[in-house]
Symmetry: C2
Subunit: 365 residues, 2 copies
């Protein structure tokens, strides 16, 4: 069904342009301005999104002709992928375009490493679809285990994946958790997100997800699109989402990207954000509660200090006194704490820490 | 069983030192010198390994006392982990040591990012064991699918993992594929290693491993220890190992690390190397065979040129005329080809390319 909608949208875009040409006009398409000035924090839904400012892309413009043509070529190629029911990466797309269009392509625009890609974003925003719907795969990274079963329709086969039976590896969160994928069973009480794969493995070994009946997720650092979508889907099932991150620049950034989205991916909006997410740790305040952590803080780096200062400037963060207190403590002490430190005294302490935090509702918004 | 051997070795190390102290000597332990001068290419087994030069580490030495003490502390901590049957990362180990020893620890020595870690390497080499045997997990990254079933004994449970039933995600290769893990079924004709996850996903969607009855592996870039061990185990089952990499600095490095090991991890020796591995592509010579690739080469970067020059200097590479020809072609044309380019004309061409290469035995050693 999603495929049919995507094809219809792509075809409407094409026929619209043909009509413009037949009518003697130069072809155009409308997209949304994705600049800082058109990025807003939406109080109502609690996440970053692009505002209402539109942009008209014109073929008959010296500055835009080349990228316009490339965007149209991407639309044509991805329409073919969707019809063929085949997927590729944006690097695969790059070579398909290069084969058709020749040398005149900026390869850096089609790198897995670049978080955003103007040409494809234009298409996503103009058509109101996701790149995953265009059969473009993105980098995958996260893992999950717990009382959940997934039906994966892929490559002409249906597979039931029981996330309680994945052993030490867990299930790798794919780049697309929407198309051809269904949650068939979900018996959990909550979702726990831990920043690092190493800690996820620690908790998986303790069978934490079994004892506590939760879905145990690690984004393995910054969340991929697939991980953010999965968390959104789990939150839509009314499961609380608790996050355990490092108390440092990266940990906060990873948390706030899950919760509100990030500035440069704001155009994704609520579909990729979990405003309901809660930050259970680790925090500078933990030092008061857990003595042993005092000797396990480490020196904050330049980047941590700078990030803490930046965050104090964001209105969607500085309106929470808990976060202001936390960030100011980092600036004052110039210390940070990693989630790995929870293992310092006893390897199995991590689970006890999480249980106490959730039970006492001791979290930051 | 592996656990018992590890415990015995750790205990012998400890009792040996106690004996030295009781005898009025300062404690010592012997390790192997891991310098470039003591790294040799072993013609017989076809991989890099450390030579015979030994090094005696002494506690009663101003220069060595601190690291000696830390190494002993690591031995004591990991002995505890093995006895408790619990695993942690080297970052988790860092905090356990920090809790016991206090501030005097270089945290950079215990970073997941640092490929090698002198203190733990000392212990591995001195005792003739792997860090995985010390219940230390390492970074994991690769994926695998195909006609193979794994028995995973983990966290007190046995799980059978059928690598034909993992859908779009495949099975994530864990950091330790030896302890508590057994290959229960292996019905494949060969192993195919593709450098990039994106291409692995492309081939997985085409069910390439099913059609060709092979084990489809991606290290997802440079191979982790777990991926190297898995490939070694598959090669031990007499399966040919074919590698499909980018024709550039990284692709070559990834291939040669799989085949012969790398300079800084040479101490791992044959257990982590697959001298039997063959390089099926992509190559500069492919341009002659596959016309469409001509327009899909891209400009080689500085690093590619430098690496090609370096490789021409390694005796274990420059004794192969096929590699010399290939590398010289890169230096001459200053071009490179990525494996993703194989999709330029048709997404499903990758499989046809691989089949032709294997059928014609068109590979580099």
């Amino acid at each position: 069904m999603a495929e049919k909608v995507t094809l219809k949208k792509l075809e409407e875009m094409g026929t619209g342009m043909v009509k413009q040409i037949d009518g003697g006009e130069g072809p155009t398409f409308e997209t949304v301005l994705r600049t800082k000035s058109n990025t807003i924090y939406d109080e109502g839904i609690g996440c970053l999104r692009t505002g209402d400012k539109k942009e008209l892309r014109k073929f008959l413009s010296m500055a835009q002709a080349k990228t316009f043509m490339q965007t149209v070529a991407i639309a044509a190629k991805t329409r073919k992928f969707v019809k063929e029911e085949l997927h590729t990466s944006i690097r695969g797309l790059f070579y398909q375009l290069k084969f058709s269009l020749g040398e005149d392509l900026d390869e850096d625009l089609f790198s897995e490493q670049s978080e955003s890609n103007g040409l494809i974003e234009d298409l996503e925003v103009a058509l109101g679809i996701k790149r995953e719907d265009l059969n473009l795969t993105t980098d995958r990274k996260g893992f999950v285990a717990g009382p959940m079963t997934i039906l994966d329709r892929f490559g002409g086969e249906d597979t039931l994946i029981d996330l309680e039976k994945q052993g030490r590896s867990g299930w790798s969160i794919p780049s697309d958790v929407d198309n051809g994928m269904e949650i068939k069973r979900l018996d959990a009480d909550y979702v726990l997100v831990v920043e690092k794969d190493a800690l996820w493995q620690r908790l998986n070994e303790d069978k934490f997800w079994k004892k506590e009946n939760c879905i145990l997720v690690t984004p393995k650092g910054q969340s991929t699109r697939g991980t953010r979508r999965l968390l959104r889907k789990l939150a839509d099932r009314k499961l609380p989402v608790y996050c355990l991150m490092d108390c440092d620049a990266w940990g906060w950034y990873i948390y706030w990207t899950i919760k509100t989205g990030s500035m440069n991916l704001a155009y994704l909006g609520r579909d990729f954000a979990v405003p309901e997410a809660r930050f259970i740790g680790v925090t500078m305040s933990d030092i008061e509660e857990f003595d042993f952590l005092q000797k396990l803080t480490i020196k904050a780096k330049e980047v941590d200090i700078k990030r803490a200062e930046e965050m104090l400037g964001y209105p969607w963060i500085n309106r929470h006194p808990e976060w202001v207190k936390e960030l100011k403590m980092v600036l004052k002490t110039k210390k940070k704490i990693e989630q790995d430190a929870l293992q310092g005294q006893r390897l199995t302490f991590v689970g006890e820490y999480i249980n106490q935090k959730i039970k006492k509702k001791d979290w930051l918004p």
